[in-house]
Symmetry: C2
Subunit: 294 residues, 2 copies
């Protein structure tokens, strides 16, 4: 199966589930539900859910069992984008070529939609799954909450905010990204691994894979920001540079950044060496992340 086909299937699987979660709302909160759905179904590639599915499958697990976990990471990712785009944060009017949530609705609704998306991630992760015992489910909640919070994604956003306009070294840039995008990507892989029943050694290898892929994702993002034009990317070209944000191309040069992405890809693939063909989607996904053009 091609990676494109795998992405499509993963996307359809998780989108069906997410749609059910947002099928209704209490009277008077319809606009909140709409804003949540608007932000969630915005053409995202569902890379994180796919990492959950592929990690589970790499161990012979059934991806259907990983559906609540996959939905949960996407809900957290979606909420973070809504809040990131707010005027007080990145102040972005467009995402994927469409008005951001606070433009399409209003700022208050965008704040609340983000808040409710986060709560929904945890709520639906507690739904009974026939094959999961509650110990495993609790572990998944904890992994996700840690990856999302003060020791994970939100810390990365705070480090990012503090860094605007300041010269960052490579180590500091990496520390920021390891939190901002890396933590949720690591949580995605580890959740899939736990559902798939990973041994201690398998878990360690998958964590290595996740750290490399998480960073590669960000390096490639920075490269695309330099290379892509507004039309392809759906956001203003060179936005990070304009904000004087530190990036890998700025620190390493464009060629240096490309070399870094390639090295990280090799590291990710190396971590998967003992795994059999069931890990093919994970391998392909790492290649896709580094070679994608948008």
């Amino acid at each position: 199966m091609s990676i494109q086909r795998y992405l499509e299937i993963s996307q359809q699987r998780v989108d069906r589930h997410l749609q059910q979660l947002l099928a209704s709302a209490p009277v008077g909160a319809e606009r909140l539900r709409e804003a949540m759905a608007y932000s969630l179904f915005n053409g995202g590639k569902r890379v994180r859910p796919m990492l959950v599915f592929a990690s589970c499958e790499a161990l012979g697990g059934d991806p259907e069992q990983a559906l609540p976990a996959a939905a949960a990471v996407e809900l957290i990712h979606a909420y973070s984008l809504v809040h990131d785009d707010l005027p007080a944060m990145d102040d972005d009017d467009l995402r994927r070529g469409k008005p951001t949530c606070h433009i399409a609705y209003d700022e208050a609704t965008a704040i609340l939609a983000g808040d409710a998306l986060q709560a929904l991630a945890f709520e639906q992760l507690c739904q009974p799954v026939p094959t999961h015992n509650s110990g495993l489910q609790l572990q998944l909640v904890q992994l996700l909450a840690r990856g999302a919070g003060l020791y994970g994604m939100v810390a990365g956003q705070a480090i990012d905010l503090a860094a605007v306009g300041k010269p960052l070294g490579l180590d500091q840039l990496e520390q920021m990204h390891n939190h901002k995008t890396g933590a949720l990507i690591c949580a995605s892989v580890e959740m899939g691994a736990r559902i798939g029943g990973a041994s201690a050694d398998q878990l360690q290898r998958l964590q290595r894979y996740a750290r490399a892929v998480g960073l590669a994702f960000q390096v490639q993002d920075d490269i695309l920001d330099v290379e892509a034009d507004t039309e392809t990317l759906g956001k203003t070209q060179g936005a990070d540079q304009a904000l004087n944000k530190p990036t890998y191309p700025a620190l390493l040069g464009l060629e240096g950044a490309k070399h870094k992405a390639q090295t990280l890809l090799e590291e990710a693939l190396d971590a998967l060496v003992p795994f059999n063909d069931q890990a093919s989607p994970l391998r392909e996904l790492a290649r896709y992340i580094v070679h994608r053009s948008h």
Copy 2:
């Protein structure tokens, strides 16, 4: 034990736990941690944690076992206040006479602090508790997430937003409050009840108690907003009236609202009739909520 003493003990117990949770932060995210602590330790009365403890004790449970649940509801409450005060929401500069989080720090930090407080609520609720099986813990996470999200607190805030400047009937006002404050109060009581090992009948009675107390809390809040002056309350007097927000005194008159609060108190106490003296704190708490002067 007087209710004041019980409040003090509950407050100290939960504050110690909360302080440990916020003892450190990743490098670069110190300001985020500070803003979280600033918002969490702002002189709040810890009514919700006390409801968790008192519900657990009403069934003969050990309140120490309810500590993570008590901390979790307070973390959710604290995050909701931070986001509620934002310029795009209620735009409040003061809370309890101190600058609100976005004034003391900045708006972006306040958004992130709220987000991280929410994640922390769920993360620490997953910490192992010796006497809890993971099935119970998972149930607690789900109760809290539901009470906080699209079918709970955030829905209430959205209904509240939509209602500004519009005439609301009594039923609509109640529907708003049942979500905005009631849902988290119900979750607090139900979490305590589950930890205390409530039977189906006990649970139903405690839910009745919680619904009445939750609404009484809001009615009394509206009354205080009319009666109290800025100094006592620490927020601008009559702020709700100024915003043309619907309130119980506006709909029922001041005396009518007081009568309503008294009726709800009686309903709450009636729900507790079959409980023995272990439910005294719950009874006292209901009286305190209706008779408090700030």
